[in-house]
Amino acid sequence: MRALPAPIAASLIGALPIALIVGLWQAIAMSGIAPPSLLPAPGTVFTRLVQQLGSAAYLDHVATTLIRLFAGFAIAALTGVTLGVAMTGSRWAGAVIAPLVRVLAPVPKIALYPAFILTLGFEDASKIALVVADAVFPILLATSQGTAAVEPKLAWSAQAAGASRLRCLLTIVLPAALPSVLTGCRIALVISCIVVFLAEMITSTDGLGHLLVRAARSFQSVDMFVPLITISLLGLLLNAAFNALRRRLLAGFPEAD
């Protein structure tokens, strides 16, 4: 282990429990406690997964899910950051938005899904709307808290140098709050993955969530696990990719997190 560079060693150690889980899974499947119709062996599932990843039809579904996910996340990020910055920059905006957020934050947004269906239809729009509803809150909160916590002397230094209040807010305070904002975005990204999948399960038309429900209806247990594992892997991948992006964006910042 000592010969390997630190990040690789860390990932190997991290992979250990996952390997253990898969091992446990394999052991249970082999022992016959659970019949293969209930718990297919990991080998079967992964073979099927690889097979599906080569199939155009499956990839179509994956693409559909991803498009909804990214669309929802992008809208949520734009809205969340804008509102968060507005809350810090304008006391009036803060006074209006803060109580609204306080009321809406603990409401399970999934309960709004039927309303979205009724107003936006069964297809993409309602699913994207649900993603936005769930993802916007972590981003909004992170941005508003992060910008409010920026050391006022940074803003003062910029204003003394000649920056207007608005310019200062957007080009100094917001970048200074970037660590916080990006953390909120990362949380929102994972939430987006989860929510889009669930929406696709509830109104099953297409996408990965739909595939799980379709397999469940025809009792195809292997085909149930495949989309589930796919979305989880996607979530992990996006999380890792986002972390890498975050490190690059925060090059100059001292390591606070």
């Binding site: 150690i13 991290g14 992979a15 429990p17 889980i21 209930l38 718990l39 809350m87 810090t88 006074a95 803060a98 109580p99 609204l100 957020v101 306080r102 009321v103 809406l104 934050a105 603990p106 409401v107 399970p108 999934i110 309960a111 039927p114 309303a115 269906i117 009724l118 769930d134 809150f137 972590p138 909160l141 992170a142 508003s144 808290q145 409010a148 909120g184 949380i187 994972v190 939430i191 993955c193 989860i194 929510v195 999948f197 669930l198 399960m201 509830i202 969530g209 799980l212 429900v213 469940a216 247990s221 149930m224 696990f225 589930l228 979305i231 989880s232 996607l234 979530g235 992990l236 999380n239």
Partner: protein
């Protein structure tokens, strides 16, 4: 910044939302968006109907059981993780893998194993609750000052006793923060699992009325669920404030989902 301000502002916000809904619905004039007044009028009908109450009661029961079991399992694990590097190293990657998995999405899989009854829904809620509670208990436990524990050890306390009598109270603010998130997730997971696997419960009433085009009832249920979420969260925050009045105020929680 969001502060726990006077109750006037949230009430005003609620009122503003309802008014905006009413006006927007009347202007839009589509069947799919009944005005707020129509929806609210349905609420007494729902709450007065014994069958609905049975459904709602069943939902709440599952949620409470799932939450209680989740907390009971998660707190010891989190506390131990905080004090033992090995336990932490073991569980951490596992939790990171489980984090992006939509717990409610496990419903069909779990239903395969446990059938369509209460057990599968409660299990899913249990899974949803454990993650944030473990995480927060872990963080809270980690932050407990080593010197406090050394003093306790010097006084003759054994390791398990230290865990219960020093680490637990000291980590309590953070644990309760995790429980708050867990409670919100319990509600969300409960509703979602009932939407996916409909037999009984709030989610079931919701989608039944959707299927039967009883739009007023749909929106009335949304309001009921929303109010439930808000009330539960507010009640828990009040309880938390009483229990850990001695702690410094924590940051408002970034509410997650599923």
């Amino acid at each position: 910044m969001i502060r726990p301000g006077p109750t006037l502002a949230p009430l005003a916000a609620c009122a503003a939302l309802l008014v905006a809904w009413e006006i927007g619905a009347r202007l839009a004039g589509i069947d799919g968006l009944p005005p707020a007044s129509h929806a609210l009028a349905q609420i007494p009908a729902i709450l007065g109907d014994p069958e609905s109450l049975l459904h709602i009661g069943a939902s709440l029961r599952r949620m409470v059981v799932g939450f209680a079991l989740g907390v009971a399992a998660a707190v010891p694990i989190g506390l131990t993780m905080g004090r033992s590097r090995h336990v932490a190293a073991f569980f951490n990657p596992l939790l990171m893998v489980i984090y992006p998995v939509p717990k409610a999405a496990l419903m069909p899989v779990i239903m395969l194993w446990l059938g369509v009854g209460d057990a599968s829904k409660t299990l899913v809620i249990f899974l949803g609750v454990t993650l944030p509670v473990i995480y927060h208990s872990y963080q809270g436990s980690r932050a407990v000052e080593q010197k406090m524990l050394w003093s306790a050890a010097a006084m003759g306390m054994t390791a398990p006793a230290r865990l219960v009598r020093i680490v637990l109270p000291a980590a309590l603010p953070e644990i309760l923060a995790g429980c708050r998130v867990g409670l919100v997730l319990a509600l969300i997971t409960m509703v979602t699992s009932e939407m996916i696997a409909r037999q009984t419960g709030l989610g079931n009433i919701l989608f039944n009325s959707l299927d039967m085009a009883q739009y007023d009832t749909v929106y009335a249920m949304i309001v009921i669920i929303g109010a439930l979420g808000f009330v539960l969260d507010a009640a828990f925050e009040w309880l938390r404030g009483r229990l850990v009045a001695w702690a410094e105020p924590s940051h408002p929680i970034m509410v997650g989902t599923t």
